[in-house]
């Protein structure tokens, strides 16, 4: 579970590698601390969230949750841990935050990206911006962040149909802001971030504050409503069955195919 923060000029780079993209409670807490260090560094103007090598993030860690005496309790703590990180990102008024998705993302991992001001992905990867396949209603401020980015209609489609979507489609609907070829991914994003940091940053930050106006005031209410529903879901047999099936599938080639490419391996 490697987490590393690095400051290069005006850019704060945050890499966080979690096995299978699953961020357990401790990982979320450590990542929050690392993020806060960058957020509190005046020299840093733009923060880049790089995720891990194989996955950007797949949200909470269902394996450690499954091993708990009462999975619902750890799931709840894990969700709150991830919410804390997302809340910190959304509450950063004096820096731009970029998500650089070098690998796929799912559920809370997608919402983590959606908390960022700009989101770029390696070309060809797949996102799973939904929860219901895991027997869960949704968390990580999805009820605010997803409709804000893609509109209510697309949010409904993504959440209810619960299918993987390509980065290309994600760009078309506003979930992502760009697909970048693999070979130049890091270089291109770093250059874009440097440009943002060095050109009209104050205007961009003023725009950000206006765009986010009202969002922060709604976080508490959204979090409480989402967590209440998640608590109920986490105590239902659907969650236990879906979680166990997911954990069994995780090691299979079929699942890896779905997770990285799409439902038909394309």
């Amino acid at each position: 579970m490697e987490i590393s923060g690095k400051i290069l000029g005006p850019l704060g780079h945050l890499h966080f590698d979690a096995f299978n993209g699953a961020m357990d409670l401790e990982h979320c807490q450590r990542l929050l601390t690392a993020y806060q260090e960058l957020a509190e560094t005046p020299q840093v103007k733009v923060i880049l969230l790089w995720g891990g090598e194989d996955f950007f993030s797949n949200g909470i860690d269902l394996v450690s949750i499954d091993q708990q005496y009462n999975p619902a309790i750890l799931a709840y703590k894990n969700l709150r841990g991830l919410n804390g990180l997302i809340r910190a990102i959304l509450s950063t008024p004096d820096k731009l935050v970029l998500a650089a998705l070098g690998g796929p993302a799912a559920a809370g991992g997608v919402m983590l990206a959606l908390a960022c001001d700009l989101r770029y992905a390696r070309a060809g990867l797949v996102l799973n911006p939904h929860y219901v396949n895991m027997g869960l209603s949704g968390s990580e401020f999805f009820s605010l962040l997803l409709p804000r980015a893609v509109g209510q209609g697309w949010a409904e489609k993504l959440l209810y149909e619960a299918q993987p979507i390509s980065a290309e489609l994600a760009c078309r609907i506003g979930l992502l802001h760009g697909e970048i070829d693999g070979a130049s991914f890091e270089k291109e994003i770093t250059e874009r971030a440097a440009f943002l940091a060095e050109n009209n940053l104050q205007a961009r930050l003023a725009t950000k504050r206006l765009l986010n106006r009202g969002l922060l005031e709604r976080l508490d209410e959204a979090e409480q409503a989402e967590l209440r529903a998640m608590k109920d879901c986490c105590n239902e047999p659907e969650f236990n069955e879906a979680r166990r099936a997911f954990i069994k599938k995780e090691a299979s080639p079929q699942f890896a195919n779905i997770a990285t490419k799409g439902p038909r391996g394309t």
């Binding site: 708990q68 005496y69 009462n70 309790i73 709840y76 703590k77 709150r80 508490d220 409480q224 967590l227 209440r228 608590k231 105590n235 047999p237």
Partner: protein, 364 residues
């Protein structure tokens, strides 16, 4: 001198006065949710219809404070298994024999020939063991700090060699920490259990002041005690305070009972413990220290249940009721398939269990 010293703790007029003061403070805010951590508080509230004395905007949420309810099903299954061993008699308190295990309760096992006897005090265990030296006796011990003090006294005494312990005693403060970790911001204060505080004092609860900054009040169990505790919490909320306050001073000292706590710590250490259906909570189970390991029934007897534990039958909401997430009336089994005569979950067994208490006293 505060009301906590007064003897009028059963006085109806005092209760009315306190209820009015609570009403005045409650009117200043739309809603107040307080939680208690003690089955005896829930029993006192229901027996004395205290909820009806409070304004609608004040909700008293029952917490995980019934010792019978939180006793792990794993230990009940062990107790059933040991009671079925030839030559072994299992001793326990009355409520425990009816608590559902995974397959059966102790009462059901007894009907089929298992040797189970009810005792009323830990001292009874010594008498039973001395009466039948050819028999092995296992005392299945449940309860919180107050009960474990008696067990510690017993363990530290010279015991008959045919008496051992199956320990399922739990320590309160860690479950309060768990409640805070899954806290949804809706609870504004906690009534702390007076009898547990008599032993430990206030110190183990100080983290509520420093880490979580939520009002807490140690309260006794008479109607006026409970109302006085609620009023204390309302005052703290009103004044923006977050103290651990002792409002049960006529019996509980701030520093606790050092002799009893010292004895407990001589005999027991704290380890992770399951709270039935809730979680395995670090530092919440009293375990015999190495010097007393010879008293551990699990070391003397090899028999173990032949089946995997199951905390609750499908649909049973006991664990969520104990966490304050659900009410008994939210459970589809309540008063239908689950009654005191046929309890499906542990909360319907004991007078301190929330479901039993609501069934028996609330008139719902």
């Amino acid at each position: 001198m505060g009301l906590e010293y007064l003897e009028g703790f059963e006085d109806a007029a005092t209760a009315q006065t306190l209820a009015r003061e609570i009403g005045t403070l409650a009117a200043k805010r739309p809603q107040t949710r307080l939680m208690h951590l003690c089955g005896s508080h829930e029993q006192a509230i229901n027996e004395n219809t205290l909820r009806q004395l409070l304004p609608d905007s004040v909700e008293i949420v029952p917490g995980p404070g019934c010792p019978v309810c939180v006793c792990p099903v794993e230990d009940i299954d062990l107790a059933v298994t040991l009671a079925r061993e030839p030559g072994v008699t299992l001793l326990t308190f009355g409520d425990m024999i009816r608590v559902p295990g995974t397959v059966e309760s102790l009462a059901q096992a007894r009907k089929e020939g298992a040797s189970v006897q009810v005792i009323y005090s830990p001292l009874d265990a010594i008498a039973k063991a001395k009466e039948a030296p050819e028999q092995q006796f296992v005392f299945f011990s449940v309860g919180f700090e107050t009960t474990v003090a008696g067990v510690a006294g017993l363990a530290a005494a010279k015991l008959p060699g045919n008496l051992t312990f199956l320990m399922a005693n739990r320590y309160m403060p860690p479950v309060l920490r768990l409640l805070m970790e899954i806290h949804d911001q809706s609870i504004q204060g906690f009534l702390l259990p007076g009898h547990a505080a008599i032993i430990t004092g206030l110190e183990p609860y100080r983290f509520m002041e420093t880490e979580y900054k939520l009002p807490c009040a140690v309260a006794g169990f008479e109607p006026v005690d409970v109302l006085y505790g609620i009023l204390g919490l309302m005052r703290q909320i009103d004044q923006g305070q977050a103290k651990v306050e002792n409002l049960f001073k006529r019996l509980a000292k701030d520093e606790g009972n050092q002799a009893a706590w010292g004895l407990i710590n001589r005999v027991f250490e704290l380890g992770p413990g399951i709270w039935r259906g809730i979680d395995k909570i670090p530092g919440s189970a009293f375990r015999l220290k190495a010097d007393y390991a010879h008293l551990d029934a699990l070391k003397r007897f090899a028999a173990r249940p032949a089946y995997a534990p199951r905390a609750h039958p499908p649909g049973c909401q006991c664990h969520r009721i104990m966490l304050g997430e659900k009410r008994p009336t939210d459970c589809a089994h309540f008063k239908k398939g689950c009654t005191p005569n046929n309890p499906l979950g542990p909360c319907m067994v004991s007078v301190e269990g929330t479901c039993y208490s609501w069934f028996r006293f609330s008139g719902l």
